[in-house]
C-alpha cells in the first residue's frame, strides 16, 4: 500500500474565483435593489450596472444528475456561475434582462420552482433524518418535501406579510434553529433502556451529566452496571440518547411532532425571538405527515389573512395577542403551553395588558 497523502490544509477558497464577473466588478458598490417579480431580484450598482438574480427551489439532497442539470442551466444563461442560499435555494445571475424570462421558463420546465424572494414562504431548512442521522425521530427530508408540495404557491408568490422561515428538526435538539414555524420531534415517553448494553457502550457519568433535570442515576441491573431513569422527573428530551444509544428514546408511536411559531434570528424591528410551542401530539405519520401539514397550512392561512405588511409571524402574534392566535387557528391551549420552570415567570403576563 502506497503512503497516504498528506492533506493540503487550505481552508476555504476565495469566493471571487467562482463569482459571476458582474458581481466581482461591482463588489461593495451596490446602490439599491428591488424585485421586478417574485423569484427575481434586481441589484443596481453605483455605476448603474444591474444584475438580475433568478432564485429557484431545490430538494437540497441532490443527486449528481440534478446538480448537472443546474449546471447546464447556468452554462446556458449565466456564463457558468451559480450560487446557493443559506436555505438551499439556487440563484442564477445575469446582467442581461432579456435572459430573465427564458431562464425562468427553463427552470420551471426542468422542475425547479422559481420563487423564495421577498415576502414568500422560503424553502424549509431541515436536518438529516432517517437518511443519515444517528438519532433521528423522523425524516426531515420527507416532511419538507410533503410540505413544500403544499406550500409551493406561497414559495412562488410574495403574498405573505413578511418572509416566512420554516424549519424542521428530527429531534428535540432543534438543529433547525429558530423559525417562524418550527416542526420538531417531541418525545412523550422516557427512554427504554437496554441494560445489557449500557456498560459496554456508554460513559455513564457523562450520560448522567447530560440530563437537564438530573433524572438519571447509576444502577446495577441483573448484576451489570447500568443507568436508571426517574420517570417522574424525566422530561423525555432525549439528551441521554446520543451519548448512550441503549437509552432508546425514539418510538414509532410516542415520538410525536410539535409545532412552534414566532422564532426569528434577525434583529429587524423586534429583537431576535425564540419560537413558542403551539401544537404537540401530532403523529409521526410518514410518508406525508398530513396532520402536520394541516396545522402548518392553517397557521399560514391565518397569518396571511390577518397580519399587517412587514409583521413577521412572532410580531403579528405579539400585536394581536396569543389569545387571538389560539382563537384564529382553533388550536387548543393547554397547561403544556405554560412555562413551568422557575425562570419561566418571564413568560407570564405581568401586566393589565389584555386581549379580548
Amino acid at each position: 500500500m502506497s503512503e497516504l497523502r498528506r492533506p493540503v490544509e487550505c481552508g476555504v477558497p476565495d469566493s471571487k474565483q467562482f463569482m459571476h464577473p458582474a458581481l466581482v466588478r461591482n463588489y461593495g458598490q451596490w446602490a439599491f435593489h428591488d424585485r421586478p417579480r417574485p423569484g427575481v431580484l434586481r441589484h443596481v450598482s453605483d455605476s448603474g450596472e444591474a444584475v438580475y438574480t433568478v432564485k429557484a427551489g431545490t430538494q437540497r439532497q441532490m443527486d449528481v444528475h440534478t446538480i448537472r442539470a443546474l449546471c447546464d442551466i447556468a452554462d446556458t444563461f449565466c456564463d457558468g456561475h451559480v450560487r446557493f442560499t443559506v436555505r438551499s435555494s439556487v440563484e442564477f445571475m445575469t446582467t442581461d434582462e432579456a435572459k430573465v424570462a427564458p431562464l425562468i421558463e427553463r427552470l420551471e420546465k426542468d422542475g425547479f420552482p422559481v420563487g423564495g424572494t421577498g415576502n414568500s414562504v422560503g424553502f424549509i431548512s431541515h436536518t438529516q433524518g432517517w437518511l443519515h442521522c444517528d438519532i433521528p425521530g423522523t425524516d426531515a427530508s420527507g416532511v419538507v418535501k410533503a410540505l413544500m408540495d403544499e406550500l409551493v404557491d406561497e414559495f412562488k408568490s410574495e403574498e405573505m406579510p413578511n418572509r416566512v422561515k420554516i424549519t424542521t428538526s428530527c429531534c428535540q435538539i432543534n438543529c433547525g434553529g429558530q423559525g417562524d414555524i418550527a416542526i420538531n420531534v417531541q418525545h412523550t415517553k422516557p427512554p427504554v433502556i437496554n441494560h445489557a448494553l449500557v456498560a459496554g457502550v456508554c460513559e455513564r457519568p457523562a450520560v448522567i451529566a447530560r440530563c437537564p433535570v438530573a433524572a438519571i442515576r447509576p444502577a446495577l441491573v441483573d448484576g451489570k452496571p447500568s443507568l436508571e431513569v426517574d420517570e417522574k422527573k424525566c422530561v423525555c428530551c432525549g439528551a441521554c440518547y446520543p451519548p448512550c444509544p441503549p437509552m432508546q428514546i425514539n418510538d414509532p408511536v410516542h415520538s410525536k411532532i410539535a409545532i412552534w411559531v414566532g422564532g426569528k434570528h434577525s434583529s429587524t424591528r423586534s429583537k431576535p425571538m425564540f419560537h413558542k410551542l403551539v401544537a404537540a401530539g401530532l403523529p409521526n405519520n410518514a410518508p406525508r405527515w398530513p396532520e402536520v401539514a394541516e396545522v402548518v397550512k392553517k397557521i399560514l392561512a391565518v397569518y396571511k389573512a390577518d397580519a399587517r405588511a412587514w409583521e413577521r409571524m412572532g410580531e403579528w402574534i405579539e400585536r394581536i395577542g396569543w389569545p387571538r392566535f389560539f382563537e384564529l387557528t382553533e388550536l387548543p391551549f393547554t397547561k403544556y403551553h405554560v412555562d413551568n420552570w422557575r425562570g419561566g415567570r418571564a413568560n407570564l403576563n405581568a401586566s393589565a395588558h389584555l386581549h379580548f
Binding site: 397547561k335 413568560n347 386581549h355
Partner: protein, 416 residues
C-alpha cells in the same frame, strides 16, 4: 415645662426650605406646653437627633397589643431608653381609613384630639401599608386610644403574617376612567377578612389593592399579592369629533407622535380625515390614548376587573410583579361581589395550606408553578395569563390529547 428641649442642630437643618417640614411639626408638638405628647416628643427629638449624628436607628420591636386582637400595634422600644426615657416606648397604632382616603374634618379633628391625649400627636396620613399611622404611644395608652378610635367606627389594620390593610384609587367617586367600583370592592373584601387581619396565622402577609384601570394609581401590580384592576372587554368609546379637535390642537405630526406612535400594540391609525382608526382586537386596554385624549376616548361599556397575583417586594427571591390570574370578571351585581370574595378566600386558604414559612404568594407560585396554583383554586387556564407560550422543549406532553379535549369542551360550552 418639665423638661428642656433637646438640642437638634442636625434636624434643625431640615426646617428650612419650601416643603412642609416634619421636623417643625415634631418641634411644635414638643413645645406644646405640658401636654403628655410634648414630653414624649422631646425624647423622640433627642433620639432622632442622635440617629442623625450616629447614622443608626435605635428601635427594637416587641409585643404590644389590644384586647381581642393579635395584630395592629407596631411595638417600638428604644435601645436608648436610658438617655431618652420619655420616648422609650413609641408604639404605632395602625388604623384602617375609609377606602379612597376620604375624610370629613369632624372625623380628623376627633382623631387629633384622641392622639393628643393618648399619644405623641404625630399621625402619618398614610403609611405605605394604607393605614392611618398613629405614631408614638406608651404601652399603657394603647388600649384607651384604641377604644376611642374603635368607638368612632374605625378598625385596626393588619400587621405580621396576616391579611393586611388594603388601598384603592379614587375610583368612581371622581374618575371617569374607573372600570369598576374600587371603593366597594375594597370594602367588600376587607370587611370579610377582619378575622385574618386581626388574628394573623398565615405563612406570611397577604395584601389586596384596588385600581380602577391599567393606570394603577393604587400601585397594586407590584405592591399587592392580589391586585384588582379595572378593564373592559368590548370596544373603547370614541368621539370622532373630539378626536379631530385633538388632532387640530396638537397638530398632525404631534398627534401621530404622541398617540399613534406610542400605542404599544400599534392598534391605532390616523385616517386621512383626522379621525381615529382603532383596531380593538389588537388593543390591550393600556389607557395611554385615553389618558391623552380624555374628552375623545373612554373605556368601553362592558367593564369589569382583571386580577393579578403575586406582586411583592425584594425578600426573598427579588421583587415580583403580579401576573394575570383572572383576565376578566364582571363586578356589578351582589353575586359578582360574592364571587370575588369567595375567590379571595380560596386564594387565602390555598396560601395558608401550601406556602412555606415567610413565603409570599408570588414566591409560592414561582415554586409550584402557575398551573398547579390554578388547579388548586379550580380556576381555568386562559391565554391571557401568559406573555407567550413556552420556548423550551423540556416538558413531558403525554397527556396532550386529554388536555386538548378539555380545552375544546370549554370552548364548546362557552359557545353554547
Amino acid at each position: 415645662m418639665s423638661k428642656k428641649m433637646p438640642p437638634t442642630p442636625m434636624l434643625d437643618q431640615l426646617e428650612s426650605g419650601p416643603w412642609p417640614s416634619f421636623v417643625t411639626g415634631l418641634k411644635r408638638l414638643a413645645e406644646d406646653g405640658d401636654k403628655p405628647s410634648a414630653k414624649i416628643m422631646k425624647g423622640l427629638l433627642g433620639q432622632l437627633e442622635h440617629s442623625y449624628q450616629t447614622r443608626k436607628g435605635y428601635w427594637k420591636g416587641g409585643t404590644v397589643g389590644v384586647f381581642g386582637y393579635g395584630a395592629g400595634v407596631i411595638a417600638r422600644f428604644s435601645e436608648q431608653a436610658a438617655q431618652f426615657p420619655e420616648s422609650s416606648e413609641f408604639h404605632t397604632l395602625r388604623i384602617m381609613p375609609a377606602p379612597g382616603f376620604f375624610y370629613d374634618t369632624k372625623t380628623l379633628r376627633q382623631m387629633c384630639d384622641i392622639w393628643e391625649e393618648h399619644g405623641s400627636g404625630l399621625i402619618a396620613l398614610h403609611g405605605q401599608s394604607g393605614d392611618i399611622m398613629f405614631q408614638g404611644c406608651r404601652t399603657e395608652q394603647v388600649q384607651p386610644a384604641w377604644d376611642k378610635l374603635n368607638e368612632m367606627g374605625f378598625d385596626m389594620g393588619g400587621a405580621g403574617a396576616g391579611v393586611r390593610t388594603a388601598a384603592s384609587c379614587v375610583g368612581p367617586a371622581r374618575c371617569e376612567q374607573a372600570c369598576y367600583d374600587t371603593l366597594a370592592a375594597h370594602r367588600a373584601i376587607i370587611n370579610d377578612f377582619t378575622d385574618d387581619i386581626h388574628r394573623p396565622s398565615l405563612p406570611y402577609k397577604m395584601k389586596f389593592k384596588f385600581s380602577g384601570c391599567a393606570n394603577d394609581c393604587a400601585n397594586a401590580t407590584q405592591r399587592a399579592d392580589v391586585a384588582i384592576l379595572g378593564t373592559w372587554k368590548d370596544d373603547m368609546q370614541v368621539d370622532q369629533d373630539e378626536v379631530k379637535a385633538k388632532v387640530k390642537q396638537l397638530g398632525r405630526k404631534e398627534f401621530i407622535n404622541q398617540v399613534i406612535r406610542m400605542c404599544p400594540t400599534q392598534a391605532l391609525g390616523l385616517n386621512d380625515d383626522d379621525t381615529l382608526d382603532v383596531d380593538n382586537k389588537s388593543c390591550v386596554r393600556c389607557m395611554h390614548c385615553i389618558n391623552v385624549c380624555t374628552k375623545a376616548l373612554k373605556p368601553g361599556k362592558e367593564r369589569g376587573i382583571c386580577i393579578l397575583v403575586g406582586g411583592k417586594r425584594t425578600l426573598k427571591i427579588g421583587d415580583l410583579m403580579g401576573t394575570v390570574l383572572v383576565p376578566f370578571m364582571k363586578l356589578e351585581t351582589e353575586e359578582d361581589f360574592a364571587g370575588l370574595v369567595e375567590l379571595a378566600h380560596n386564594m387565602l386558604d390555598f396560601f395558608a395550606d401550601n406556602a412555606l414559612e415567610h413565603e409570599r404568594t408570588g414566591e409560592m407560585i414561582e415554586r409550584i408553578g402557575l398551573v398547579n396554583y390554578l388547579e388548586g383554586l379550580g380556576l381555568e387556564l386562559d391565554v391571557n395569563m401568559i406573555n407567550q407560550p413556552r420556548t423550551n422543549s423540556y416538558i413531558r406532553t403525554d397527556g396532550w390529547d386529554e388536555e386538548a379535549r378539555k380545552w375544546a369542551e370549554r370552548k364548546n360550552s362557552a359557545a353554547e
